[in-house]
């Protein structure tokens, strides 16, 4: 074992031991550990395998930029592939496994890919696998797919739950390091409502690595926790910055436990609508490209410091620290202080004022030098660009190529990153939204300086949000200025120097991309897959750009980095889906009679958002039997059906009639009070939009009904026209779909049934004829009655306030009992609808005109109507267009299928139309259908074929009128 736990120090609870498992082996750690720190404390160096070459990899970082140490966390339905060991909070019983290796992590057969290196360089697959043609799908691609990917998804549904929470605040502070805490304190004391989001499970950021600042951190956190207007959210990563200062985040509520407590969610998706935002997300250390920079034992200098200071883990025995900036000196010192073996500091800079202090601590300092090779056991250190060099025994190699301010969120907000030469990195550009960056995010390093800048940002943000109370709190001392960084990206030496560790992209791959013309940073990224791994290039993106810049002969800033997009860290599907998934993907709508249907054995089916009874089977009935029984009852006596789902819109006002006249192709201003009329509405492009009956309840009061599916679109259509096209019309309307339940009572005995149930309305044909509208009472409940029919029989619809639906329904059932009344469902209704030849959803499919549906003559002669002008275009007025017809099989034993096409002869390659609706008919004792057929009128009584190649079926059919029953419409007027 080369790494080990220190006896003291850090933010772990040594008094408590937790057990965990990695690749079947049992280990222990402590609360406060991450899986990564606990593995290191147990001396585990090999944690994963890379994507392409399957090279052995260890733990490279201590944060979300981790490219190597990805594991499958948990088991069974809770398995999470690709989870970064550096981001997993250790808990008792944690189970994890390495991934993308076979048969084992230590011996992975796929690592032979590494020997094929030159042949499988960047983009090689675009140049090969083409011969012979058929081998791509049969051989090459299946092999590639099997080899690719990382961990395995769970195969069962996720047992955990997620929820969403939305908040407004005056100032949102992202990050709780020195800058974030100071910003929150300043804004909070100024009086603003502040929310702080911290990705980590402990607030503090870089402060957690500075024992000298521990007291200040504690004071600040305590003070903030005591402020009623400040909320600190830990384990909450802000993943995206959207328009209008909306930020999205995920709070990991119970990921630090083996499983959530009862009724506890796993994660909480949060959005924040902030007046002002302070981005204090710190900075990420960047890689240096040199041969072997991916070997187990390679670990970023800042990460090594984190393991030492925060977790009390010495990550190696003999260490080489390789840097171009001052920050890594602290790592070297900490390693030396922790009692490591030999510590060597390699600085590419030729001078360093800090060198003497290092030497005094026994650290071997090599200036103007570089690491030319590392294999996990030894490192070769040489003069910059020189030959030869000295070999050091080293099991830990800590590169630091400088620090990249985390500009991702600022960049997403629209602030284009700006190159800052003194940092050799990008800083946030000019703000576009109400946000400002602070501290290391802005390129201001050092705890004192960052805190000072954070306080400024917090104060300014609060002031901008309208809060300016005086603030009074202490800030840490500002440290001395650092020596300038020497931009340094790559050691030119033979061997694989990686710029993207997870995807195995090397410096040479970047140069190859340039040679082949993929010189734009976005092209190079896509060609090499650099920066496309689960770490999204946090470690090496800029290094790749610098190598590309050198190849292009241009400065790094001319090359830039690829666009920053959500997500700053990958986000669980479940978290974003929340409760609005599965059975709750969309709200379920139930009618007021839903419980009655359930009590009476209805088979309920979803239709759009609604649950509706399809039929009410009796014991022993199968297949079509209940549907036939229900339909026969209606055709021969009486049935009752819940039609509450139809859209109902109440339209009132002096201009209500004029409004409807402009929306419908027929006229409503001439409709008498107490009557209803069937109407058809077009889209602006002249295609039929919706149909339904509209009743005139008073001179200035109409009740519009729509199809179930179009209830909301029709309301929107009305709103659009009332608000933007005809604002001069004095008309009001609102949806009353939920306020009124509606039932159809249909059949030759419907009048007698209702006569026994209704008080206060004479239902005789003379007083209450077809298309009449009236009011009465049923079981004491006031109801509206409409004499309309969908089934083709004598029928009524009764609208009743929803709360009384069941009372009225039961009263009608009782009244109909002598006639054998039955409830009928959607299937029987649909059967009778097709028999009657009413156009419905399958015919009103957004492709048909009124004329196509045989309703062309409904168009009024004059007056402006939505859709009239465009309906007159030659393509829509063409008489050859498909027309609504009926079809019946010549051989009455043959079944018809919806979606079949009409052709002259079987085998024809030309379709004349399609079958829109089919049913088994009770009147004709065979299948019948409705179809849209070109020149359909002219083809009546001719024989054609309804073919369904999908079913390998072809049925000879006769074209008929769409009205398979009662074409003269005598029954409805009876």
């Amino acid at each position: 074992m080369t790494s080990k736990r220190l006896p003291s120090g850090g933010l772990i609870d040594r008094g408590t031991t937790v057990r965990f498992n990695f690749d079947g082996r049992s280990f222990t750690g402590h609360p406060g550990d991450t899986l990564a720190s606990a593995l290191l404390a147990n001396g585990v160096r090999l944690v994963g395998r890379s994507f392409k070459y399957h090279r052995p990899r260890g733990i490279m970082t201590a944060g979300p930029e981790e490219p190597n140490a990805l594991v499958e966390l948990r088991e069974g339905a809770r398995r999470e592939p690709n989870t970064k060991a550096t981001e997993i909070e250790l808990h008792d019983g944690l189970v994890s496994a390495s991934q993308n290796r076979w048969p084992s992590l230590a011996f992975d057969l796929m690592s032979i890919n590494g020997f094929a290196g030159p042949a499988i360089s960047a983009g090689f697959y675009y140049k090969t696998f083409m011969w012979p043609k058929s081998f791509w799908e049969k051989l090459y691609e299946p092999l590639i797919r099997r080899a690719a990917g990382l961990g395995r998804a769970a195969s069962q549904p996720d047992p955990d739950h997620y929820e969403a929470m939305h908040a407004h605040c005056d100032v949102l502070v992202v990050g709780s390091g020195a800058a974030g805490l100071a910003a929150a304190r300043a804004a909070g004391e100024a009086g603003a409502r502040v929310i702080i989001c911290e990705r980590d499970f402990v607030p503090g950021g870089g402060l957690l690595l500075s024992p000298a600042d521990a007291a200040w951190r504690g004071d600040m956190v305590n003070a903030l926790e005591a402020m009623p207007n400040v909320e600190i959210l830990t384990r909450t990563n802000v993943f995206g910055y959207y328009d209008h200062n909306l930020l999205g985040a995920v709070e990991r509520v119970s990921d630090h436990k083996a499983e959530p407590d009862q009724h506890e969610v796993r994660q909480r998706y949060r959005t924040f609508r902030a007046k002002q935002v302070v981005l204090a997300t710190g900075a990420s250390e960047r890689l240096i490209a040199f041969p072997g920079n991916d070997r187990p034992g390679a670990m970023m200098a800042g990460a090594a410091l984190t393991y030492l200071r925060r977790f009390g883990v010495v990550p190696g025995r003999n260490a080489v620290v390789f840097t171009n900036n001052d920050s890594a000196y602290e790592t070297a010192l900490a390693l030396a202080e922790a009692g490591s073996g030999k510590v060597t500091l390699v600085d590419v800079r030729s001078q360093s004022a800090l060198a003497a202090a290092m030497t005094a601590r026994g650290i071997d300092v090599r200036l103007a030098s570089e690491v030319a090779y590392f294999d996990g056991k030894t490192a070769l250190v040489r003069r910059r660009g020189g030959a030869g060099g000295d070999k050091f025994v080293a099991d830990l190699l800590c590169p630091s190529g400088g620090w990249n301010p985390n500009v991702q969120l600022a960049s997403q907000s629209g602030a284009k990153p700006r190159w800052e030469a003194t940092l050799a990195s990008h800083v946030p550009g000019e703000s576009v939204q109400a946000e400002r960056s602070a501290g290391a995010t802005k390129g201001i390093f050092g705890i004192g300086a960052a805190a000072y800048d954070g306080a400024r940002a917090g104060r300014e943000a609060a002031a901008a949000a309208g809060f300016a109370k005086a603030q009074d709190f202490a800030l840490p001392e500002r440290g001395p200025a650092e020596q300038p960084i020497a931009p340094f990206w790559e050691v030119k030496a033979s061997g694989k120097s990686f710029v993207d560790l997870q995807h195995d992209v090397t410096a040479e791959d970047i140069r190859l991309a340039h040679r082949e013309g993929f010189s734009h940073v976005e092209h190079a990224k896509r060609y090499t897959t650099h920066g496309m791994a689960t770490d999204q290039g946090k470690l090496g993106s800029l290094v790749g750009s610098a190598i590309l810049a050198e190849a292009r002969g241009e400065p790094v800033e001319a090359v830039g980095v690829p666009t920053h997009r959500p997500y700053t860290m990958p986000v669980a599907f479940g978290a974003l889906a929340g409760h609005a998934s599965g059975a709750h993907f969309q709200p379920v709508r139930r009618t007021a009679l839903n419980d009655w249907h359930l009590r009476n054995g209805a088979v309920m089916q979803p239709t759009g958002a609604w649950l509706r009874p399809f039929f009410y089977p009796k014991p022993g009935e199968t297949g079509w039997e209940p549907i036939f029984r229900e339909a026969r009852a209606v055709r021969s006596s009486v049935g009752i059906c819940d039609v509450s789902t139809l859209g109902k819109i109440d339209v009132q006002g002096p201009d209500a009639a004029a409004f409807l006249d402009r929306l419908y192709i027929n006229t409503f201003s001439t409709l008498a009070v107490g009557k209803c009329r069937y109407g058809v509405m077009l889209r602006e492009d002249g295609i039929v939009f919706d149909d339904g009956t509209t009743s005139r309840l008073a001179e200035d009061h109409f009740l519009v009904t729509t199809t179930t599916g179009n209830a909301a679109p029709v309301l929107e259509h009305m709103e659009f026209h009332a608000q933007t096209v005809w604002p001069e019309l004095d008309v009001q309307f609102c949806s009353v779909t939920d306020q009124w339940a509606q039932v159809a009572v249909a059949g030759p005995k419907s009048r007698e049934t209702l006569a026994a149930a209704v008080d206060g309305l004479d239902l005789s044909n003379e007083v209450f004829p077809f298309m009449g509208v009236g009011e009465g009472k049923i079981a004491g409940v006031p109801v509206r009655l409409f004499r309309i029919s969908f089934s083709g029989e004598l029928a009524y619809e009764i609208a009743v306030p929803s709360g009384h639906a069941e009372t009225v329904w039961e009263a009608i059932l009782a009244a109909g009992k002598p006639f054998g009344i039955v409830p009928y469902g959607l299937e029987a209704m649909s059967l009778m609808r097709v028999e009657k030849g009413h156009a419905a959803g399958p015919e009103l499919n957004g492709q048909t005109t009124a004329a196509d549906l045989g309703m062309g003559r409904m168009m009024k002669k004059s007056g402006d109507v939505i859709g009239r002008v465009l309906a007159g275009r030659p393509g829509l007025a063409d008489p050859g267009r498909p027309r609504l017809v009926g079809i019946r099989p010549v051989d009455t034993n043959k079944r018809l299928r919806g979606g079949a096409h009409i052709v002259r002869e079987p085998g024809s390659g030309t379709s004349m139309g399609w079958v829109s609706s089919v049913t088994q008919s009770i009147e004709h004792a065979c299948w019948i259908g409705l179809a849209m057929v070109e020149n359909g009128e002219a083809l009546k009584n001719q024989r054609v074929f309804a073919v369904s190649p999908l079913h390998d079926e072809s049925v000879e059919v006769t074209i008929t009128s769409p009205h398979h029953v009662d074409p003269e419409n005598l029954r409805v007027r009876a």
Binding site: N82, G517, S908
Partner: protein, 425 residues
């Protein structure tokens, strides 16, 4: 005029790959040159996306017209060509669409050999799920139309869906799976490779691909196009073809034309890479959602438009929530996987959700646009038909119906019947 022969020395072959791998990959040439614009060309294609580059390739390879420039305001292929969900299919029901997309699919099937570039066209199937009898009838109408026209389609029942896509939840209480319409010849291709393959093939026949050259005006004289004003100066042309997807209406304005096109955002997503889970492409019928898995292992998915007009290429959270809800509803095992990255493209939505490849009222000016959600699968077919239309100054039968005039004439090609409402398409 005969087509200029390809520069055979640059051909990719197994031998060449081996040779290069033994010599440090130092001999590879740029996939396309970076030429300075000439004073004039026979044809200028505006837009270095898949459609523009494919047009140039077919102008050169089929019609022998090689004095061609493709001008692109940025680097090639970073518009919708590089930000789509890579789906290839021809499962359309209306003959005007079926004809065109099936021609395109046939070109896809031979594209690697035509381009000498592996675009990773992979026919692992496209499955459209349905959730009710009426949705089945609609799917059957489309599938039967395809079969009548000689295009492959199969109607799968629940059990067949289970066997090809075992990860799908079949029994959701609100949208149970009744079955699916499968086109086995559908699948995916590597979108960037398509761009690069067409660019390289066109370049090898002499086409100039001019990047970082933004068109700022379309010069006309006496009703005839004479060239384009660009940020790199005026470039003369006998003919100009515009293929700029989300920016179609902007370019049309430069030519004084107003097109029935609105630009909307469509978001797309990719998950972290996982071991093979989803073989083909699957679409959800209860919400607008589709998903496939790339060869690299990432789950690639998308769905609805953002619902407002925009050129921002960003997108917002309401659509994200809806899509992820659909994803987890359709495939519950996705819940614990993670979304890695999200982006958006600008869709040139027409008023019937079908595209146009056609002449314009200006002589020598041709437009290719209105691709809505579906431009990627059309790439080779679009280029082929646009090249034909430009070279012959008349459309091919494959694109004869795909005109702008159809809106004036009421001959819309409205596959789903959503009408002139882009957000409903």
């Amino acid at each position: 005029m005969p087509a200029r022969p390809e520069r055979m020395t640059d051909r990719y072959s197994a031998w060449r790959l081996l040779k290069e791998s033994l010599s440090g990959n130092r001999g590879w040439k740029p996939a396309w040159r970076k030429p300075e614009p000439k004073a004039s060309y026979d044809v200028i294609i505006v837009g270095g996306g898949g459609h523009g580059l494919a047009t140039a390739h077919y102008l050169a390879s089929v019609h022998g017209i090689t004095n061609v420039a493709v001008v692109e305001k940025g680097p090639i292929g970073l518009g919708n060509g590089g930000r789509n969900t890579t789906i290839v299919r021809s499962n359309y029901g209306l003959p005007s669409n079926t004809r065109f997309y099936e021609h395109s699919l046939k070109l896809w099937e031979g594209l690697e050999q035509d381009l000498n570039y592996n675009v990773m066209m992979s026919q692992r199937g496209v499955l459209n799920l349905f959730h009710s009898d009426s949705q089945r009838d609609i799917a059957a109408r489309r599938g039967n139309s395809m079969r009548i026209q000689g295009v492959d389609a199969e109607l799968l029942d629940r059990e067949a869906v289970r066997s090809v896509a075992p990860f799908i939840e079949l029994d959701n209480p609100m949208f149970p799976i009744f079955g699916g319409l499968m086109q086995r010849r559908g699948g995916t291709a590597r979108h960037d490779a398509v761009i690069w393959g067409f660019a390289r093939a066109a370049d090898r026949r002499g086409v100039d691909i001019i990047e970082h050259c933004e068109v700022t005006g379309i010069r006309r004289e006496a009703g005839r196009v004479t060239g384009v004003e660009t940020t790199r100066g005026f470039i003369g042309a006998k003919k100009v073809g515009v293929a700029v997807a989300g920016n179609t209406s902007r370019l049309a304005t430069m030519a004084g034309l107003s097109l029935p096109v609105e630009s909307h955002l469509l978001q797309a997503f990719v998950s972290e890479a996982i071991k093979p889970m989803i073989d083909g492409v699957v679409t959800f019928g209860a919400g607008h959602f589709y998903i496939s898995q790339s060869d690299k292992g990432g789950l690639v998915f998308g769905g609805d438009l953002d619902g407002y007009n925009s050129y921002s290429q960003r997108g917002n959270l309401p659509v994200v929530e809806h899509l992820l809800g659909a994803a987890v509803s359709m495939i519950p095992a996705l819940s614990r996987l993670r979304v890695l990255r999200q982006w958006a493209g600008i869709m040139d939505m027409t008023m019937d959700s079908s595209p146009f490849i056609c002449k314009t009222p200006i002589d020598g000016l041709y437009f290719n646009g209105g691709w809505c959600y579906g431009g990627f699968k059309a790439t080779p077919g679009s280029g082929w038909c646009f090249a034909h239309t430009i070279a012959r100054n008349e459309p091919h039968a494959f694109n004869a119906d795909l005109t702008i005039d159809r809106f004036r004439d009421g001959r819309m090609i409205d596959e789903r019947g959503a009408g002139p409402n882009p957000w409903a398409q």
